[in-house]
Amino acid sequence: MGILEVKGVNKRFGGLQALGDVNLSVAENTVHAIIGPNGAGKSTLLNVLVGKLIPDSGSVMFDGQSVLGRKPHEINQMGISRVFQTPEIFADLSVMENVMIPCFARRDGAFRMHAIGSVRNEGDIIGQAEAILADVNMLAKRDMLASALSRGDKRRLEMAMCLVQEPKLLLLDEPTAGMARADTNNTIDLLKEIKEKRNITMCIIEHDMHVVFSLAERITVLAQGTPLVEETPENIKGHPKVREAYLGEAQV
């Protein structure tokens, strides 16, 4: 039994079958990659996992509990954090404030009325936020406005915001897209380090096969909304079905 069990999930958008009978089992404490051509339904699958979309049928169990029908903030509080394909950050707030908010969410839950004490006096929260910024090499930019960051920095900031929550399951939707090679390698190292330090399960969507093969322990190939194969990285290279799905789209 994996920490995440997706069974028979279907999702249609009008005439388009975005997800067709998706079954996926992600084992605890592993890095599971989902690859597939553009429009395969990868992001749609994540949308179902985090409560953004409700599937037409099927079940999604996380940690023994169903996530279907729960609100996004409830699912996050269960321990699922997501890095989006286009960064979702608090553009009008400083980098530091961006990472402090998930710290508050982790400590205080979905709602707490603390309207009188000053944020400046929240030593613990400030400490956690600074530590994660140091981990992603962004401490020097702590007072910058998030909207002023480069694309790669925005992604790293969003990753820091998710990591600082210490989720049980981290969903990453193309975390290195738009990053320079050096930043991509840093991200790989960061994720590896996180993986070793904490008990964390990751589900990563990536087009960059270098990233996939550096991190993944299991790989699922999705094409036209349906999983084709699930294999270890060694066995996925040269798999005939995978070649068929990609047909030269990436050098597998």
């Binding site: 903030h73 608090f90 707030l93 400083s94 908010i101 009325m113 603390h114 000053s118």
Partner: protein, 403 residues
């Protein structure tokens, strides 16, 4: 100091000084001088309006400034606050303590209900819903609810009202344990006259407390959450925060400020009518906040002050007064100037306000506070161009909302 950082503390001290010294600061000209007649604003009725509307705008800013949700029906809370206070005068006594408490509580309950419904939508739909609610309250106050609101006559205290807590010898005007709201001390110095009124000082103290609380809210984790909601509600949900109760709390707090303001209005003059809830009153609050600077601490107070000043001072100026000013000029020049200025004064004060509002929105989207910061930056650059540690508005740290 008082849980504030030094910048905020300084700002609070300035506000306290300005409000407490307002009776003197706003009467810079001798009473009998032409300028004094036109421009002295230090009379109690007007000063009360400055601080009461200031309080209203400060509360409105907690909702609009922090969360970005534009309530276009805020005057409804002002209205129910006023009614609640007058009812306490009618039922209990003229003591303003129960009246003010009732204002806050009733406005809060009202805000919970309206907020719960309106916050199901965001953006323009939220604004329209709040507007609809306020207009509904206005219409009901004039019709079906007449037994409670006394319809068009307005709600007031009659001699046969129960006033169960009233004892013989109690003042028959609103009072704070005997301290009558409308009594004042007048201080004559030379040609100058300064009036210190109890009612004004009570309102001023309420405004100062309200302002202090708003600073604390702005700097608190709660304030940070509200700014985060304004910035990206999606990220907020996927970060495990339930935005609904945060929004509702902001809405209710903001409504309570309006309730206090309404209660104060009744305490200053125990008579209230439905027109306080009319949509133009709600619009005025929005204009105050935007004019002064939305999301800044002092902006709304500034905006409220300027609008009430224009409304009461500029609207008093008529063509005779204008002719008086320019009497020293040749006739043709006098007439020309009067003709140019006339549309902007008297009943035309709305035109002045409109022009000012447009100029601010176009050139200073951050309101007059932004204008002040720009000026400040300009001056400090000029005077200390060699001094590298000059803290100008341009380099103000980004992680706290500006003053």
């Amino acid at each position: 100091m008082l849980g504030l950082n030094s910048r905020d503390f300084k700002l609070l001290m300035i506000v306290i000084f300005m409000t407490l010294a307002a009776p003197i600061l706003l009467n810079p000209f001798p009473v009998d001088s032409a300028l004094g007649e036109s421009f002295n604003a230090g009379y109690p009725a007007l000063m009360q309006r400055f601080v009461i509307f200031g309080l209203l705008a400060v509360g409105f800013n907690i909702l609009f400034g922090l969360t970005g949700y534009l309530s276009f029906g805020h005057a409804a809370f002002l209205g129910v606050g006023s009614y609640a206070a007058v009812w306490m005068f009618k039922l209990l006594s003229y003591n303003i303590v129960p009246a003010m408490l009732a204002s806050v509580i009733v406005a809060a309950l009202f805000a919970v209900v309206i907020g719960y419904v309106c916050l199901r939508r965001s953006g323009i739909y939220f604004s329209i819903l709040t507007l609809a609610f306020a207009q509904m309250s206005y219409a009901l106050a004039y019709s079906v609810l007449s037994p409670i609101t006394n319809g068009e006559t307005g709600l007031q205290v009659y001699s046969d009202d129960p006033q169960v807590l009233m004892r013989a010898g109690d003042p028959i005007v609103p009072h704070l344990f005997g301290l009558e709201m409308n009594s004042s001390v007048t201080w004559n110095v030379g040609g100058w006259q300064f009036v210190f009124q109890n009612g004004y000082y009570l309102s001023a103290i309420c405004m100062i407390i309200g302002f202090y609380i708003s600073i604390r809210i702005f700097r608190s984790p709660f304030g940070l959450m509200l700014r985060a909601i304004k910035s990206n509600q999606t990220r907020m949900s996927y970060t495990g925060m339930n935005t609904k109760p945060y929004m509702l709390a902001a809405f209710v707090i903001s409504g309570m400020y309006a309730g206090v303001a309404g209660g104060l209005m009744s305490a200053m003059d125990p008579l209230t009518g439905a027109e306080r809830m009319f949509w133009t009153a709600s619009g005025e609050i929005v204009v105050m906040a935007i004019l002064g600077g939305v999301g800044t601490l002092i902006g709304p107070v500034l905006g409220a002050g300027i609008i009430k000043y224009l409304e009461n001072i500029i609207s008093k100026i008529n063509s005779d007064i204008l002719h008086n000013w320019f009497a020293f000029m040749p006739d043709w020049m006098d007439n020309l100037l009067v003709n140019i200025l006339y549309p902007f004064v008297g009943k035309g004060w709305h035109l002045t306000l409109g022009v000012l509002f447009m100029v601010v929105v176009i050139f200073l989207p951050g309101g007059l506070v932004q204008g002040g910061q720009k000026l400040g930056a300009l001056f400090s650059r000029k005077s200390k161009s060699s001094n590298s540690d000059a803290t100008t508005a341009g380099t103000a740290n980004t992680n706290t909302p500006a003053e």
